[in-house]
Amino acid sequence: MSSRDPVAEQNELYARAVREFGRALDRLSAGYEGDVEKRRDLRQEIHLRLWRSLTAFDGRCSLRTWTFRVAHNTAATWVDQERRSRSKLVTLEEVEPWLVGSAAEPDLDRPRALAQLTSLIQRLKPLDRQIMLCYLEELDNATIADITGLTPAHVAVKIHRIKAILSRRFIKDSSHA
């Protein structure tokens, strides 16, 4: 006879995941879906899949890694389904030429900076988008590697590229001052 009620355990894990990573999941949804109505559906889908998946959570990875894996996989499937109506998605390497000639604006306010950042994220292919979002959530390279399934070395290369892209676009260049 089991000592714990599995439903209660699942709900407890879900509540903990939402408490600790709920806001991050909201931001993740914003990174994958621009349309407000569709974003609401994506959020629901992520939460539903997360809750369902927790029946299989065995503690072999952290709850954070598990939560982000489920969320990213769900969102990647979402992007794939919605792609027919979308413009072409690009990799980190391909997005760099798109940024050429668009140096950081010195007086870019926060809402506009956020809009530009979101636009940049939503142009990326799912894998690069995952890495970008994990970086923005300040996850370390080892956790990002756990979530994405890439090697830590590969993640490091991607993060290096992301930093270069973001610094070109969003961080003040003092040499222009």
Partner: protein, 194 residues
């Protein structure tokens, strides 16, 4: 060198973005999913029966000449099948089996499981609610072809369209079977909890 301050650090900009929507609640999204399943099932039945009626109406009003016995039998069968489908799915169509308001507001796991079971049964019984449409389509194709190409050429002329219709039907059944399997997996997962 670029100068990074907390003010324009993209990670701060990203993490400090305003929260635009309230938190997602377990009951809300289970309820949302349940309503989605319910609505899909209902609309599929209504659209399928509506399309069958449309084909019948077109046949009755636009095709000249008296239908032969086989066609008459076909029409009769479609009408009976439609009536049986409407009777069989009356609760789904007119929402008589909707749960009480408080259950919709906070549907539990059990309610969600029942909706999944209904959806699975609906998908596995696709022949029941898709049958009239298939038969009406077949009659429509046969009647149009027979009208245009009488006698000996009739069968040959209707063959490509008939094959296309059969292929479309087979693919539809296969797709619904796959969806039912997916739902079964979800039910199995829930089964470990209930």
């Amino acid at each position: 060198m670029p100068e990074q301050s907390s003010e324009n650090d993209p990670r701060r900009i990203w993490k400090d973005q305003p929260q635009e929507e309230p938190d997602v609640k377990l009951n809300h999204f289970v309820g949302h999913r349940t309503q989605q399943l319910y609505a899909s099932t209902r609309s599929e039945i209504v659209v399928s029966i509506g399309a069958a009626l449309f084909f019948l109406a077109v046949l009755a009003w636009r095709i000249d000449g008296t239908p032969d016995r086989l066609q008459q039998l076909g029409y009769g069968l479609v009408v009976v099948w439609i009536a049986a489908s409407i009777y069989w799915f009356r609760d789904r169509i007119w929402r008589r089996d909707q749960p009480p308001a408080e259950a919709v507001a906070a549907p539990g796991l059990e309610y969600y499981r029942k909706e999944l079971q209904r959806r699975r049964a609906h998908l596995l019984n696709a022949w029941l609610w898709h049958g009239p449409l298939f038969l009406a389509s077949l009659l429509f194709v046969a009647s149009v072809a027979g009208h245009s190409f009488p006698n000996a050429e009739r069968l040959r002329s209707v063959l490509p369209l008939g094959l296309l219709l059969a292929l479309w039907t087979a693919m539809g059944f296969w797709r619904r079977y796959r969806q039912a399997q997916e739902i079964q997996r979800e039910l199995d997962q829930l089964g470990t909890l209930l």
